[in-house]
Symmetry: C2
Subunit: 361 residues, 2 copies
């Protein structure tokens, strides 16, 4: 029996609907297992720009810092696309990652048997896929300085900086090895060491950290090859660890193995304070407010929160099993329609999962 | 009837075998169409390090500059993996790109009907795929300065710089639009404008260039989404234009649409001098010298040379048709085995294609 304060930042578009679904499922967990979850809401992204004139208000940050964990929806939308860089919804996301020191982004890629046919890949290639991408989230080219526009000798230029400190690499690689130890004991470190200086440092540090984990195998893979191998033979992977931008690209690619981006949860673990949980998908403005979005990525993110922030493994399993049951019963949101089954609305999917959680034995 | 000087740089590993195959096919074109091709050989990559102590000897560069076009194999191998950065085979490739001003890397992605089943993707998704990735090749994070290691306040760091000048973006985007005009009239410009300054400049310039091509549609796509869309619905693409690193990652990923990396040719067009043609695949040390490699990517690169450097469209078509015929006749190198047919050695595949070129009517 515990008391947990959860900051909920729905953000924009379908972020609203999917976090609402995840909150309902968490409430069901509370009822079933006798925990008390408190939900407090904050603005982020476009919604925060509209309400408070900035994509990450101080108030939201304070709320997060006072909470035990953060549940985020998604940010962005055409409404703010024309805004100057510092007033874009994405800045709120980047800022919260930096401010809360959310350095380790865990993106599990799992293919549910009954969804294998929803993947663009051949079912035999994706059935049984189960790996996790560990993406560095607070460094690299996302945050390096200088970054901006310069005019030199009448020439217009733009520059971005990919910077990594040794410690930043160390802690994320160590996280990957720690995870691998409880899994299939294999770490694939993805870099571009034949071109980038930062990748050569990355590779060196990975080798060093590996020495502390003699029971885990380390393999290096160039990012171009990794982009190919993820679709050529995805079952070869256990834990993939990589820098911020490569992780962004590879995890969106890998989402197709699970049939839909709507299935992928993520955890962004903090070095110091509360961690943050969010679906990998975006705000999907085209279907926002239509009760069509797949709430499963957000719901599975809530399960990750229970396991990783609160140490509630059984409760997390109850959610995961409930998701399995709903899918096995043939319920499909629109994004999963290619795999057959019966297409249902967001709230119907949530209801089914909630009920299964309440019935968990 | 023309005379053409071709510099051949086989490089390392299977680079040797596949360029040998392409040269044989070019000789057949010479016989069939009455052209004279002169082939002169130079070292590059690991072979050049062994022979001349540097991955791109001056002599090789001179040879290329005096030629009408360059045919390259592949570089790299475990033998040189422990070398210091400036003595790595890849440096030779990066240096020749920069020295010859090979700014526009064209990577066509075509799925041959009879190979559709060799792709990890479902056949109905890849059948009919026909797009080209236009990758900027002499700028961006591959060449930006500073790039290296620094120790600051006892902290070890590594840095790379993503830099683009406006003109660099302009010329590559213009190339993409020019190609699209003769194709399906659609350009997808891939960037990460929600994070990178260089991408925001890229997007602006793309918009500007688009005004000069009112008959071609321009669409912007974020790189993470592009990595997903390429496998989700590859037929939506006609011409993809993007910066150096994104192009590297996306083109290796896209190679899986054609069944094998062994099928993908490329052209690297120069702003000023001779252009360079090379297969997208690497040196594949594991099968080097075993007469197993797929020579088709190199042979199709030779066809691109005929069309783009020499204006020999019919001759290029003769090669492409010969490749089609060999595949339709059921010949498959080992990499294509999943699509059925009869597995043949490199030289047998070359022989079949050569014969078909000689018989071209
Ligand atoms: C919205 C964007 C800034 C973000 C990123 O690039 O990190 C998103 O793509 C993600 O993967 O969370
Ligand atoms: C070998 C390497 C430097 C090269 C690159 O990254 O450009 C290769 O991957 C390619 O795509 O030609």
């Amino acid at each position: 029996m515990g008391n947990y304060r959860i900051a909920v930042l729905p953000g924009d578009g379908i972020g609203q609907e999917v976090t609402a679904g995840a909150v309902e499922v968490l409430k069901a967990v509370g009822v079933r297992f006798g925990h008390e979850f408190t939900f407090e809401y904050g603005w982020i992204g476009g919604a925060a720009i509209d309400e408070a004139g900035t994509p990450l208000p101080e108030e939201t940050l304070r709320l997060c810092r006072e909470s035990d964990a953060v549940l985020l929806g998604a940010v962005g939308g055409p409404k703010w696309d024309g805004n100057p860089p510092h007033l874009r919804p994405e800045k709120g996301l980047l800022a919260i990652r930096k401010q809360l020191d959310l350095y380790a982004n865990l993106r599990p890629v799992v293919c549910y048997d009954c969804l294998a046919s929803a993947s663009p890949l051949k079912p035999n290639l994706v059935q049984g896929v189960d790996f996790v991408i560990v993406r560095e989230l607070t460094g690299g080219i996302y945050f390096g300085q200088p970054s901006g526009r310069v005019v030199e000798n009448g020439e217009e230029k733009a520059v971005d900086t990919l910077l990594y400190k040794k410690e930043e690499i160390e802690r994320i690689v160590r996280m990957a090895f720690t995870l691998a130890r409880d899994r299939k004991k294999k770490v694939t470190s993805v870099d571009k060491a034949n071109v980038l200086s930062s990748s050569r440092l990355w590779r060196e540090v990975a080798e060093e950290v590996a020495k502390q984990f003699p029971d885990v195998e380390l393999e290096h893979m160039l990012v171009d090859n990794a982009a190919m191998q993820i679709i050529r033979a995805p079952k070869q992977f256990d834990v993939i660890v990589t820098e911020n931008m490569f992780g962004d690209i590879l995890s969106d690619e890998a989402s197709m193995l699970s049939g839909s981006l709507g299935m992928l949860p993520s955890a962004s673990l903090s070095a110091s304070g509360p961690s943050l949980y969010e679906p990998v998908h975006g705000s999907a403005p085209d279907i926002a407010g239509m009760n069509k979005a797949n709430p499963i990525a957000a719901i599975l993110s809530a399960a990750m929160m229970l396991r990783l922030s609160f140490g509630l493994a059984t409760e997390a399993e109850a959610i995961e099993q409930a998701v399995h049951q709903a899918l096995a019963a043939g319920l499909r949101t629109a994004d999963l329609a290619p795999s057959g089954g019966r297409v249902v609305a967001t709230d119907e999917m949530v209801e089914e999962i909630k009920t299964a959680v309440l019935d968990y034995t």
